[in-house]
Symmetry: C2
Subunit: 233 residues, 2 copies
DNA sequence: AGGCGTATTTGCGCTGAAGCAAACTGCAGG
DNA sequence: CCTGCAGTTTGCTTCAGCGCAAATACGCCT
């Protein structure tokens, strides 16, 4: 049974080149679980008891303000670590994680963290790099939010989605999981109405094709130009 | 000479409780330097060769978009680590650091990182916690930017500044370094005009006193209420 | 095939905050 | 003391994008 997981993990960037021994060590303390679509894997402000690695599927990470506004912080793709509050010395999760589609994930109890980190340094390094990347991305988003118009922000968000979670189809690159206008609005801090209008406009311009809970980018280059168009000075 | 630094460091949170031996180890590879006001300590996209600890003063961390917009990512206070790209496995700095006032900082060559981390685990842990805190803060800022009105954002920014870098005076709590309307605008993604208007309004309401490159909050509680006022649903 | 709930589209009016323009003020330097 | 400049204030205009409302459209379930 661990055989399946082993080959899966060995294929992940960040774990490539690990010895079989190290992999066994990593897997011996892990537990695998299925999460059906819309299942909540952990919840915001809940006690952080485990950390996770997504084997398959897509996960939506959502933050809720005290006032009740939701914001989609990011989507987790296959092969990514998530819920690693422990690595940052935190005791609660800063966001909720919800399966965007049926998912399979490995999880470790927090107690395994120190052990894994010291016995498999590459594992710790990988985690810290994940965090660094995420900090970088988040800071870019702040910049985007403060300097870009809504149209550019939405274009960037859609591009990010197709780059990270795109699946090639006959018509173009399609986002690999069901996503609503509302979701995109919650990623960019706008309203589903504005998102809908812009997608329609892009569809008229032949840049995207979209349907119910589905977005396909037919002309990524054109969309990139949209995302780069500067606010008029 | 290291004596001065030792007592300074020993007083910092995150370093409290370290043995004298550990402190000596940390300091032996460090070098101390003065940076006059407006000096650039490192620059965005420059090769990351060192990491730093601010001993005294305040540092402004600035990001610039390809299009030339500036955004103040944060201010560094005394006792904080900064420029720790190495801890995240990065080779360039994602932002520039400029002395907001005359500063003194310790720096280590990147080569010292692995050594320090393995020989003084508390040092590494402190760095990772710093990063975690910063990620958390940054994520909060994204939320703020996407859900709050300009007035609330500016109120939050000012509150953050007085909480983290406030100095008590007869009139209230004053931000401890020179800060312009433009600076506050660049923290919140607005314009200096809007910032000026709001500060004036708050001054009329008796919440703040402000002058040239100076902001004093006389009624923090009232400002907090402003920052919490919800967007009308 | 029909019905239903959820997701999407689209029109319209309003307003917060940006853009533009101009006047004012406090401080540093001569 | 005077001058100049950087920083600040304030009025007016404009418009991107939100709130509101209503009409469709799609897919699922029976």
């Amino acid at each position: 049974m661990p055989t399946l997981d082993r080959s899966l993990i060995a294929g992940l960037s960040g774990f490539a080149g690990l010895s079989g021994e190290a992999l066994d060590l990593i897997l011996s303390s892990a537990r695998s679980a299925r999460y059906p679509k819309d299942a909540e894997i952990f919840s915001q402000d809940g006690e952080a008891t485990s950390f996770f690695l997504l084997l398959s599927g897509h996960i939506r990470v959502v933050r809720t303000t005290p006032a009740g506004d939701q914001l989609i912080a990011r989507y987790i793709n296959e092969g990514e670590l998530f819920g690693i509050a422990i690595a940052m010395g935190r005791t609660t999760y800063p966001a909720s994680a919800v399966a965007a589609v049926d998912c399979v994930a490995l999880s470790w109890p927090n107690g395994a963290w120190a052990d894994l980190q010291s016995r498999v340094p590459a594992f710790g390094a990988s985690a810290y790099q994940t965090i660094g990347t995420r900090l970088q991305e988040t800071q870019s988003r702040v910049m985007e939010m403060s300097t870009q118009q809504v149209e550019q922000r939405i274009a960037s968000a859609v591009l990010r989605l197709v780059n990270q979670s795109g699946r090639k189809t006959a018509e173009g690159i399609e986002i690999d999981f069901p996503i609503t206008r509302q979701d995109i609005a919650e990623m960019t801090g706008t309203t589903l109405h504005t998102v809908s209008r812009l997608l329609s406009a892009w569809e008229d311009a032949g840049i995207v094709k979209s349907g119910r809970q589905k977005v396909t980018v037919t002309d990524p280059h054109a969309l990139m130009l949209v995302s780069e168009n500067r606010r008029r000075k």
